[in-house]
Symmetry: C2
Subunit: 334 residues, 2 copies
Amino acid sequence: MKTQPTSRDVARAAGVSQATVSLVLGDKWRGRVSERTAGLVREAARELGYRPNLAARSLRLGRTRTALLVVPALTNEFFARVYTGAARVAAEHGFGVVLYPSPEGVGPARDPFASASAALDGVIASSMAADALASIRGSDLPLVMLDSDPGESGPAARVNLDIADGIRQVTDHLLGLGHRRFAHLASAVDSWTFQVRGRALDEALAGVPGAEVLTVPAALTVDAARQAAERALTGAGPRPTALICDDDILAAGACKAARRLGLRVPDDVSVAGFDDLALATALEPELTTVQLPAERVGERGMAALLDVLEGREPEAGDLPVSLVVRGSTAPPAR
Amino acid sequence: MKTQPTSRDVARAAGVSQATVSLVLGDKWRGRVSERTAGLVREAARELGYRPNLAARSLRLGRTRTALLVVPALTNEFFARVYTGAARVAAEHGFGVVLYPSPEGVGPARDPFASASAALDGVIASSMAADALASIRGSDLPLVMLDSDPGESGPAARVNLDIADGIRQVTDHLLGLGHRRFAHLASAVDSWTFQVRGRALDEALAGVPGAEVLTVPAALTVDAARQAAERALTGAGPRPTALICDDDILAAGACKAARRLGLRVPDDVSVAGFDDLALATALEPELTTVQLPAERVGERGMAALLDVLEGREPEAGDLPVSLVVRGSTAPPAR
DNA sequence: TTGGATGAGTTTTACGTATAACGTCCGACG
DNA sequence: CGTCGGACGTTATACGTAAAACTCATCCAA
């Protein structure tokens, strides 16, 4: 358990002062230190395996190079991918990303900052983690919101997906195949990203003669979705010929429901998802779904936070999404 | 952007010295400070919204209350769950967990510590992330290994699943159904946890008359698994009647392969998975699989690290796993 | 010859916390 | 009456770093 060498140890080894070490290693020695001395310092640092003490640096600078990412659940592949993207960009800039332990994880957690064991420079939050937002707002930390209502004020920056366009693409695809009777398997979570889906669907169907849609909400699990979809497929009135799902997990439940009812996908009922998770190609038939650039969301989120921290203007504009047509959609049975 | 209050601000507000604040808030004031004064301090701290500066604390104490979790990929649900468990236990003890940005994430990353933006008190590492281990070993930080070879030396503690027993359970289940010709859809990743599966399978089949097994390796993606399974099901010799898969993702690929070849699961071929991911119940039929307590692995890992840090003996013994029989296995066609 | 200007460092200080070492006051005991 | 030991605090210091302020030559122009 030999203790880590400090900048003073390096200084001693190189025969200079601690300040010089700091200057050289901090890359701020343009005209202050000679090339030769700088070389000596770097040599000594490598020799000793010097690694700056980050606690000391943070204390001195008042910044921690750490961002908090608030997501509802990492076990949701989408958010795992968001994290991956954010962490990549962060690492490139010497930043770290810590996660807010989601409600499913730890108990009380009213205060994200109590649980964040690190001091923070900024926060990136998904609008799906609404419960944590109030306390974040109070902290006047730079805040980047992911996929959130552009109408709300507060965040320093916003990274949004063009969700409405995704729904438009799905709907056009299904309308093109000849579908008119839809069910909308909606997430029960009341968050902007899902509200938009509902509104966009209504808009896309408005003006299409004979088009109708039955909305069924469900929790974000396969089983809850299956039950909801069974209700939608067995309710009163003519059976919907296409199920538009807010999420691939819901779509998986929808497929299960269809099978259980003896309906074939896509022959008897078409199913469309949202997200393009790994799940989408694991199912048989593979899901027609809207592909979301999850890593890009994380990357843009972290980049926006860095922009805000350094006084730059964050990049604006929604991220595009694209429909991927696979085997779960087909013309309706005639 | 008002700056955070410091312990000195609290002291001023309470009319005491900074040291007293530190004593009271640090809960080490048994006979040193009067009940009344302690109350005043706590009041003032609440009033000002005082929050200790963690950088300063870390610098002073030389410990950071931060652990590094090294996993191959968070997008793998198993590891996302391991993280969740570890983070929960960590939070209960005022610790944080940072993740090693996996190779798929960031580029160079030879050195986990260069990318860890926080100073660390210890490391929890999955044996599946073998590439990162060398540099960790060099750092003489307390190391807890997850699901790793008990023969190897190095780690301060080890948290293992009883993988061999899981394979035994699957195999017994399938033998009981009457299967004799198996294919083993194995992970191409060369890590202890997968090696054990192979060995345990051989052991379980040794001595069973007529039992044979064909091993086919595949990368951990649905598509790679599908291709491998197609080879296994169409190769020379009699077709295997049961596929034992190292992972549910591989099992999903196996199911797809069967469908493509016009084989029904489980009527024509049985498929068994490993992990019990959400995927397992999303598929149709639902997967028979070995349920692994992923969160428990994370919890035990973090608990073991805390034990090591505080000089206690970490809890020993493998975590039990259990077979979940669902619809993807049945007696072989006769 | 004086007086900048420049190059090459060094000395010093502050960041906020935890804690060891040091004061006081007061009641009680010998 | 002295002094001894709690009870209740305070003062002082160290952790390792970054950077502002300072020193000290040397060189060049006026």
